[in-house]
Symmetry: C2
Subunit: 412 residues, 2 copies
């Protein structure tokens, strides 16, 4: 008799975005006038397109696959050297972060990597998670058996909460209680906050002192405007012995439909075996990839490498500037309503609450019904997100202007 993974049975409700999709559909079915003019500022899907440098590189790569002389078969499980080198050089070494080419692991996206990385860690680690937080961190830990049952009102037994609040600028402090694995995400999804160097130094110090690991999600690093802020945790001395970093091409590279990201695992990073011996996580992660995957599509890796060419860099810089202009417009629009506004300066998300103190889903429903705009309810990211909504800057300028206009006409 085949048994299932019991931990899956603890998972509460549907994942946030399917739930939003369900509610939008219900509203659209009920209200054809809303259905006709819905603007989505929810899921963070970019409007595209991919930049010309990427398109050109991908076309060339397909021509190579279509000729027996230049065909490429199985890629290296952890990524082609040319791409690993471009990443390590441009995203790390050029910024003073000492990362070797073979510490870059190319994948089909950072969402996957966040879950996969848990496979090489033991089930009994105590996990610290910000609240509010990207729900994938929570659910993948539930699936991996690192929690107890779902709690009423959200969350799971056994997880430690790292509160992100108005008071701490939505940047959690290192915990006082015992934590083995701590998640941090900066620029932050969903709150749009950004950590400064002294506070990230404090986290690295804490992790090294406690032999803990920081899983650092920097999927939005390319949106940081403030040059004093760290784009990578590896710009902080000491991070090589305590951190892993997840990166994505999805947003600045419009790779949501292309699918590519990467994870950085330094060779000094160790976990402990049951007898407290240090075990290289770089080795375990390499073994994970060589055994379980065949690497990323040739045209996709060629497209990703094109993001690092001079043309690719110029073209994506324009894209980033455009989205950050949108974030500013959205923030100004919400402020003019008298709403409290956070984020949007070093991150493509605005995090806001209405002065009426409405709960997140009420605000979500009101904005959907009255303005035909889909936002993301903050409470979907955790209890401490209650009262907030997240508005994404990933849209065309035309639609952003329309969103600001419609928000201006909202009642209450």
């Amino acid at each position: 008799m085949a048994h299932v993974n019991e931990h899956y049975l603890k998972l509460a409700g549907a994942y946030l975005f399917p739930e939003i999709a369900r509610r939008v559909k219900a509203c659209a079915d009920r209200r054809p006038d809303v259905a006709d003019r819905i603007i989505r500022c929810g899921i963070g899907d970019v409007p595209g397109p991919i930049v010309p440098a990427v398109a050109s590189a991908m076309h060339d790569a397909i021509d190579e696959l279509a000729s027996i002389e230049t065909f490429r078969g199985y890629p290296p499980a952890t990524g082609y050297d040319f791409l690993r080198e471009a990443i390590a050089e441009h995203d790390f070494r050029s910024r003073g972060a000492p990362i070797d080419d073979d510490e870059i692991f190319v994948s089909d996206g950072s969402k996957g990597d966040c879950g996969h990385f848990l496979e090489i860690l033991g089930p009994n680690n105590i996990v610290g998670l910000p609240d509010p937080v990207y729900p994938v961190y929570v659910d993948t830990n539930v699936m991996a058996g690192r929690t107890g049952s779902a709690l009423e009102g959200g969350g799971y037994e056994g997880l430690r909460t790292l509160p992100a609040t108005v008071e701490n600028g939505f940047v959690p402090e290192p915990p006082d209680e015992h934590v083995d694995i701590a998640y941090l995400c900066f620029p932050n999804n969903p709150t749009g906050s950004m950590i400064d160097r002294p506070r990230l130094e404090a986290w690295v110090r804490w992790a090294n002192e406690h032999d803990a690991i920081i899983l650092y999600d920097a999927a939005y690093a390319d949106f940081i405007r403030d040059p004093s802020k760290p784009r990578s945790i590896f710009e902080i001395p000491g991070a090589r012995t305590c951190a892993v970093e997840f990166r994505s091409f999805s947003k600045h590279g419009a790779f949501t439909g292309v699918r590519c990201g990467y994870t950085v695992v330094p060779k000094e990073l160790e976990g402990r075996s049951a007898d407290r011996e240090g075990i290289s996580l770089h080795s375990l992660w390499t073994r994970r990839w060589t055994t379980r995957a065949n690497g990323v599509s040739w045209p996709v890796q060629c497209g990703a490498a094109a993001l690092y060419t001079p043309d690719g860099r110029d073209q994506t810089a324009e894209v980033v500037t455009r989205y950050m202009d949108h974030a500013r417009l959205l923030a100004d629009g919400c402020r003019s309503l008298g709403w409290q506004v956070h984020g949007g300066e070093d991150a493509p998300f605005v995090w806001t609450s209405s002065p009426g103190g409405e709960d997140s889903w009420s605000l979500f429903e009101r904005i959907l019904e009255e303005a035909a705009i889909v936002v993301t309810p903050g409470v979907g990211f955790g209890r401490m997100g209650e009262g907030f909504i997240r508005i994404s800057a990933f849209n065309t300028r035309e639609r952003i202007d329309e969103v600001v206009d419609r928000l201006g006409n909202l009642g209450g």
Copy 2:
């Protein structure tokens, strides 16, 4: 203190193909005369190229991504409907296998799926594995904690062996002892054997009687020449309550570098919870994908769908015929040496042993040193593969002719 997944520490040695690569490099460094003329019949990487229908569809898809009007962002986590429908219709319903579109889960390759599927099954299931067997099945179960320690001479404590021998035509029988999850792979990698309908019916009967699950790897289904043989386990009545099937586009579609495959999970298939309640594996698998992945690249899915167009089907049929001609030539060549030859009729692999009774690695080294041909040592697939080598038919005709020639000149 962060702990590692202890099960990884049980993994013995390197994965087979890295070990082959290491030995080939060592030989090439020592023998420049060998290095200059190496022909690889080892890893099963196809020479390509992708067929024109696929290249054309992928080019169109990239043009769509490059325009804001036709851009595609996040794909559905389990695949686009148009591709799921093409697969379900052509690979299943047209052959009398009752599979719905939403029972097809599109992924970046079947190697990954074989490991991922274990995530939704409990750690205490007893696993039955053929010997010889694709090493990924073994290693992924070790990583998932379903074995004890590595055994001397190969294998791991706790796994049940399903022997594939000359006597049973390399088609294992259902086990007498207790097994919850059984792996089958037909057309078989590495032995090139193919199961017939009555014997597959016996497996389905066994699984339903014992509430067991068959993980059926049909990555090479398109190479089956004998029309009486089942291409899918779902052509067998009763399979919908006991089987999962893994498929790949890598070989017939030359998708090794494109990366796409799929898994079939019928809605009737259930595992058991600890309190013996039936739990839908289709639901758990759907949850796994929506939480842990963002789906497969748009141009890749478009390329895969092109395999099912009339042009795509004609073009891949030619490719398959060519490889099966190669398999026949290789089999004939080995027979003319007086070797015992298996496989190569419904599968693109020839499985053979020398009359001298050499062990696999000796035969591997001899063929490498004397003929500069890389084969795969049978013992790399399990103890019962000792004495055999696998020769892959995936090469150009020119190289296959050269391989047959060189084998003919082998000593001993």
